[in-house]
C-alpha cells in the first residue's frame, strides 16, 4: 500500500513538475527533493502542493510548515496517507 502511494506520488511529480526523462525508479524514496537531490525550487513546491491537494484531497500547509512534508517522497507519502479521507 505504501509502495503504491509512493509510486503514485512519483508519477504525479514527474507529470506536474515536467521532470522529463525521469522514471519513478529513478527517484529515491528518501532523497531530498529541494535544493539537493532532485533540485526542485519554491515554484515547484507550490505546483506540487496544488497537485497533491487535487489528486489526494489533502490540504498541504504553506511556508515553513510545508518543509518537513516535502523533505522526501517518503515523507510526503506518509503525510498523504495520514490525512487523506
Amino acid at each position: 500500500m505504501a509502495d503504491e502511494l509512493r509510486l503514485e506520488i512519483k508519477r504525479l511529480m514527474i507529470r506536474e513538475l515536467d521532470l522529463a526523462g525521469l522514471e519513478p525508479a529513478g527517484i529515491d524514496d528518501d532523497a531530498p527533493l529541494f535544493v539537493d537531490g532532485l533540485g526542485l525550487d519554491s515554484l515547484d513546491a507550490l505546483q506540487l502542493a496544488m497537485a497533491v491537494e487535487e489528486a489526494f484531497g489533502v490540504v498541504v500547509p504553506e511556508g515553513e510548515e510545508a518543509k518537513p512534508i516535502f523533505s522526501s517522497v517518503a515523507a510526503l507519502a506518509e503525510y498523504v496517507a495520514q490525512h487523506r479521507q
Binding site: G21, L43, M50
Partner: protein, 712 residues
Amino acid sequence: MKPRIAITGVGAVTALGNSAEEAFERLIAGEIAVRQHELPSWPELEHLRTAACELPLGYADLPRVEALSMAAIDQALRDSGVEPQAHPAAVRTALAWGTTTGGLREAEDLLGLVTQDTSPEQLRPLLGFPISATACRAGERFGPFVRTRTLCSACSSGALAVVVGASWLELGVCDRVVVGGADALCATTLLGFSALGLLDPLGGRPFDRGRGGLSLGEGAGALVLETAELALRRGARIRAWLAGWAAGSEAFHITQPEPHGTTAAGLMRRALARGSASPEEVGYVNAHGTGTLRNDAAELAALRALFGEDFARPRVSSNKGQIGHCLGAAGAVEAVFCVLSVERGELPPNATPELEACRGLIGTQAVRSPVGVALSNSFGFGGMGSVLCFSHHGGGRAQPDSGAASFARLEPVSDPRGVEGSAVPKRVYLARHCLLEPLPGSDPRQVPPRGELIAAERSRRFDDMSVLVAAAVERVLSQHGDVSRLEATALLHGTAFGAVQRAAHFLARARSAGPSRVPPADFPSLLPSAASGNAAIYAGVRGPVGAVSDFAASAHSAVHQAVELVLAGEVHQAISCCGEPLDPLARRAGAAWFGLPDPQSWAAAAQLWSCEPSAIWVASFGESRGPLPALPQGNVAAFLGSSDRSVALDWGGFGLPTQAGAARPSVEGLGGAAVCLAAAELERRELAHALVVDISKGRVLHTLLSRVEHAG
C-alpha cells in the same frame, strides 16, 4: 556631470488621481488607494485588495490600457508645452512604451471560453491584445513618430521604455521621445500572483516587518524626454535631468530575486556612473519595494551593498503601498513620482506601520529634503531590472556646452545612405546567426520535445516559445559569442503577443476548477517577457533582457534594439531572436484580424550583433513611412521578413528593387528568419548587400547588411 537629457513633461493616471500633480500630492499626504473592490466575474477574488483607477473621461471606447496610456501621454505632452497633435516636423519625436498585459483585460472573458469552433468574428476582442496596440494608437493620435517600439521586461517594462528612449536621444535618432508604460488590472494577473502566493490580502506593505506580499494596481505613466539642447533652445521648463540609467538581468530565477541583490546593486552603480554621480550624492531612492518578503529583503541587501557604511543616510520609500504594483506602468509612474520628488524636495512616505529597522526608510510622514540625485528602481520577474538616475535641474551645473558637443550625437558618415539616425560611424557587425527549422521528415506543426533542442533538466516549465528561443540563443552563443562577456550581453526577443493559447488555458482552468486550482508555475510563462527571461536564465545572459514588440515587424524591431544597444556602447554584444511555436489562438486571431501570415511550421531564429569586426556589418537601419533611401550599387537583394497583409504591399512605392534580386519571402511568418537568409547569401558571396524589410501598419523597418569589403 553634464546633464544631457531633460525631462520636460510628466503625466500619470493612477489610483490616486488622474494627473501627475494630484497623484503626487495625495501620495505625499499618505493616502492609500489599495482597497477591496467588487469583481463581478470573480467574486472569489474580491477579498484581494487592489488599487484601481477611475477611467479619465473621453476614453471609454478604448481598451482600458489604451485609455490609461492616451490620457497619460496627452498630459505629459501638454506638460512639456507641446500641443499633442502638433509637433513641428523639425523636431523628430519618438515613442517607447512598456506593458506586460496589453489588452488582456478585454480579451480575458473571451479567452476562457475559446474552443475549436469559435469563429474569427468572435475573436474580435483580441484586437487590443497585441502588445504594441497601445503604441500603435499613440502613433495615430500623437504622431507621426520617427521610431515606435514596445518593450516588455515584466515588472520593469515602464522603466525599460525610459532606458530605450534615452538611448535613442543619445544615438541622435530623435530629439524628443515620449516614454512610459501602462497596465490595466485584469483577472489573469490577480489569479496568477495569487496562485504564486505573492499577494497580501491585507494590502501590500513595502519594507514592513510583517509584510506578506504585494497588491496589484493599474495605471499609466508618461514622461517627455528631450535633448538638453532642444529644451534650452525652446525655453522649455525642465522638471529634472535624466542623468543616468542601466538595464540588466540577474539570470537567476523566473520569479525569485537574487537574495543578496548583487545585480541590482550593480545596476544602481552603473546608472550613477553614467551620470558621473557617486552613491554619496544620492539623497533619495524610489525603491521597487513590492512588499513581498523576498523582494524587499533583496533590495535592502542591494542598497547596503551600494551604500556600504553610508547606508543609513539616503532616504528610501516605495510607492507600491499606496498605488499598488502597477506592473508595466510601475517603472514609469514611479519615475514620474521620483522626478517630482527631486524637483520639489518632497519625498513620499512608506505607508506602512512597522518598518524594517533601516534608518534610511522613510516613515509614514513624507519628508522635506532637497535632493540632488535620486535613483528609481524597477525589478521584474526573471530578474530583469532597470534603474533610472535623476538629478535636480537647478543644481548649478545645468548649462551644457553649446551645440552638439555636449552629448553623444553621432556625426553622419559621408555616404548619406541611411535614414535618420542610422549613420553608424562605429560599426555593428553580424557575428553569428542561427535558423532552426524542423528536420526533414519530422512533423513541422509540432515543436519537438524540449530535450531534443536544449538541456531538459534546465528547462522545466519552459513553454514552447521559451524552448525555441533558448535553443536559438544557445546556438548563436556557442557558435561564437564571447561567453566571457555574458554580463555585457543583451537578449531581445521580438514577439507580437504573449502566450495566447496558454492564457486561454489558464483562464479556462480558473473558470472550471476555481482560482485556487490554477497551476502557479504556468503564470510566469504568460508574460510576453517569459521567453527572453527563461532564455537569459538558461544561457546566463546578464545584460538588458526583454521582449520587443512592433506588431508584424516585431522580430525586426528586436534586431534594431540589439543593434542600437551595441552601437550605443551599452553592451559588448546583443542577441535578437524570435520564435514561431504555432500558438493556435495567436495564429487564428492573427490571420483573421491582423493580417498576419498563418505559418505552417515551427521555427526559431537568432542573430548575434557585436562591435567585434567580422564579415558582415550593418550599413544602415531605421524606420520610415515612405520610400527608402537609394540602395548601393552592386549585387543587392531585398528580403521580406514579414508584412502586415491588411496593407497592400506597395513594393515599388517603397523604392525597393524590382530587378534581379527581387524580394524573397522568408520562412513564412517568421520575420527574423529573413536576416538569417540574407546573411547566408552574403556569406556565400552571392550578394554584396542585402536589404531586409519588414512592414507593419504602414511603417517599414529596414536593415541594410553589407559585406565588409563593400563598405563605403
